[in-house]
């Protein structure tokens, strides 16, 4: 439909000529070097405060948060959580050395690398993340070989393993990480900010958790 494309651009050009306000060179420069926009104080907390603000906001969004000394302790923390939730000691993990090399068996947990939709439905997933966002309490993930997006969508429970120093202030910090990881195809296919469990207010504006995605989101903070 290149005819349609030409026609649409012709109309845009005609409007540009009528208004005389377009400045293509400036706009291209804006794309090359994006100027900073107004960032509210909320979006740039002091680094020493970011962790506590993040925890507070994540709790407000309906997450649960636990802390943990090192990666080696993660399986035990996961085990405790699953027992509390009265769930089987079984998790799905991605092909990510941060997680796959941990001692799951010793903690009494069966870790599966099966990732098809049928296998994930109703289960528990454990994944890493690229950042925690103090401003909103959301956790940011980017699709990759280490992070299948469906791990954060199909299971009933999603457990994030996040390092304390991965907690950042606001949206801008996530964009910075995303831009730094660009390759010749640009940004990763998916960049998701996940703010707690899935929910809906579509029936009588009553909030109900577990609409389509995970019913619970648990964050393990590794210090």
């Amino acid at each position: 439909m290149s005819n349609a494309r030409n026609a649409i651009f012709a109309k845009i050009k005609a409007a540009d000529a009528k208004r005389g306000k377009s400045s293509p060179a400036d706009s291209r420069a804006r794309l090359e070097t994006p100027p900073a926009q107004l960032v509210p104080a909320m979006g740039k907390p002091a680094p020493e405060e970011a962790r506590d603000i993040f925890i507070t906001k994540a709790l407000e969004l309906g997450c649960t948060v636990a802390d943990c000394e090192s990666f080696a302790d993660v399986p035990a923390k996961v085990s405790t959580y699953l027992q509390e939730q009265d769930c089987p000691g079984q998790v799905h993990i991605p092909d990510d050395a941060d997680l796959s090399l941990l001692g799951w068996e010793d903690a009494g947990i069966a870790a599966s690398s099966q990732l098809d939709a049928e296998a994930l439905d109703g289960r528990t997933s454990v994944t890493r993340a690229i950042a925690g966002v103090a401003e909103t309490g959301a956790v940011a993930v980017a699709s990759s070989s280490k992070h299948p997006v469906s791990l954060g969508l199909l299971p009933d429970r999603h457990i994030f393993v996040l390092k304390v120093d991965e907690i950042k202030g606001g949206y801008e910090d996530v964009w910075r990480i995303g831009r730094a990881a660009k390759d010749n195809q640009g940004m990763s296919r998916a960049l998701n900010l996940i703010g707690g469990p899935s929910r809906t207010g579509d029936i009588e504006a009553t909030l109900v958790m577990g609409a389509h995605g995970p019913r619970t989101v648990h964050i393990i903070l590794v210090s």
């Binding site: 100027p35 969508l153 801008e172 998916a190």
Partner: protein, 476 residues
């Protein structure tokens, strides 16, 4: 876009008498505005962010061609394709062809007002596809064969009992023969039924809240996560959206993310904020094999450089609907257009035609509340006035109203006759008015005034009139 706005008056009358619907309108008219104010008051920079958002959109529209070209380049770089559609027909045909390429028949969709505008579902269903909406509200109204009641809360005019009836009927074929009434159980039932559709879909169709020119990403904002399932599980991801959704950079996007959820539902953030570009990469563990973006004009370029250009800044938050005394009295379906309330009164004549939507710009009390809450500061009342003028010029105003205005104008040119006429009318009104709280109101006007007093009272004019007091020197 199919518009049935000529029935506005009849629809509105029925809506005012519908108690159930009035309960739903309380959510929009009271609860959402309270939540909006509460969350906005916790962000001291909220007003300044609204200014920034307005300015960014002005920049984006002033340089729309440059930003759209950059967006297209980045999408192609990521391995995706961009398609351009001048009209709804073109857009629907493109989407149909893309679905055909997939070889499958099962389509899942996440909420998109542009596809409502295009009537894409009807088109695809007519071609033999199974199309299922996955946003819970959209799913409910799809099952009921209704149009969205509100751009953000499409099914909030219904109560749990009505949803229960709808599910009971629709889900029997999936072996769900038990009637559930509880809201939590209703959500669970929809989850179970839709989960199977997600897993078996061939194509996922989403809209986009924003397009980022810098990176070629489309941005989806939801609370349910249904858009992410739609964008991730099927083999194809098709994005259908309007050309005006482009913002220059990610830094610009942040400004909108900070005001959208606050303005729409009073949340600090929506629970899923997702940016997608291109199909699954070689290194990705999942994702669709293809990524197509259909950019729709459908009347938008005609608005550029005109008095209604500013409407293109709209981010579909719904705040103007919730603040509108007309919307919160008659509800969305009265408007006969997928876009309702103040924003609909400006969008609909632009996208359909002034004649088919003539009633909508008049469905306003011009109180200015909508402009006050609009996060991108669109001067909605003055744009409605623009369409009213167009409508009058095109002689679309009802003959009674034209005749009335004509008489009024003639009287205006004859001051003594004007005063005689108004004092007779004033006497008449005072004669039929009833007292209430120290003031007098007319609760039932005769003749053509009947419509006015069916849903509201008219204050009886005070006596003596301003002019007579002025003459006696009592008012200066």
């Amino acid at each position: 876009m199919h518009v049935t706005s000529e029935k506005f008056q009849d629809n509105a009358k029925a809506a005012i008498d519908d108690d159930q619907l009035q309960a739903g309108l309380f959510i929009f008219g009271k609860i959402f505005p309270l939540l909006r104010e509460a969350t906005a008051s916790k962000l001291p920079e909220f007003e300044a962010l609204r200014d920034s958002a307005r300015d960014i959109k002005i920049e984006a529209l002033n340089n729309l061609g440059t930003y759209l070209e950059a967006f297209e380049d980045r999408v192609e770089e990521a391995g995706g394709r961009v398609h351009w559609a001048r009209t709804a027909e073109e857009a629907n045909t493109i989407v149909e062809q893309l679905c055909e390429e997939s070889g499958g028949k099962d389509i899942i969709k996440s909420k998109s007002m542009v596809t409502e505008e295009l009537e894409l579902n009807d088109h695809l269903i007519g071609k033999g596809y199974n199309v299922v909406e996955t946003d819970l509200g959209e799913y409910i109204i799809q099952l009921r064969n209704e149009k969205p009641f509100h751009i953000v809360g499409p099914a909030l005019h219904l109560n749990a009992g009505q949803v229960s009836d709808t599910f009971y009927e629709a889900h029997q074929k999936y072996g769900r023969t038990e009637r559930v009434e509880d809201k939590v159980k209703l959500v669970e039932e929809a989850r179970i039924v839709l989960r199977e559709r997600f897993k078996n879909a061939d194509v996922g169709i989403t809209g986009a809240n924003f397009l980022v020119a810098e990176t070629g990403q489309i941005v989806l904002v939801t609370n349910e996560g249904n858009a992410d399932l739609t964008a991730t599980l099927p083999k194809r991801h098709i994005v259908v959206t309007g050309i005006e959704k482009v913002v220059p950079t990610l830094d610009d996007l942040s400004v909108f993310l900070r005001i959208l959820a606050r303005s729409a539902t009073g949340q600090d953030t929506s629970n899923y904020v997702s940016l997608y570009s291109g199909p699954r990469r070689a290194r990705d563990a999942d994702g669709p094999e293809s990524f197509d973006v259909v950019l729709v004009d459908n009347g938008r370029t005609d608005m550029l450089g005109t008095p209604v250009e500013e409407m293109l800044r709209c981010i579909r938050c719904g705040a103007c609907l919730n603040s509108c005394p007309v919307f919160t009295t008659v509800g969305g379906q009265s408007y006969g257009s997928v876009y309702s309330g103040p924003m609909g009164a400006v969008w609909t004549p632009a996208l359909a035609s002034v004649s088919s939507a003539a009633k909508l710009p008049n469905a306003s009390s011009f109180c200015g509340k909508c402009e006050e809450v609009c996060p991108v500061r669109i001067p909605l009342p003055s744009m409605m006035r623009h369409w009213r003028e167009k409508e009058f010029e095109a002689h679309l105003t009802p003959s009674g109203q034209r005749w009335g205005l004509g008489v009024w104008a003639w009287l205006g040119r004859h001051p003594s006759l004007y005063r005689a006429a108004t004092s007779i009318a004033g006497m008449g009104l005072r004669l039929i008015a009833k007292g209430r709280r120290g003031r007098r109101f007319v609760t039932a006007l005769p003749f053509i005034g009947r419509g006015w007093t069916q849903s509201r009272d008219l204050a009886a004019p005070a006596e003596p009139t301003f002019l007579s007091q002025y003459k006696e020197g009592r008012r200066r």
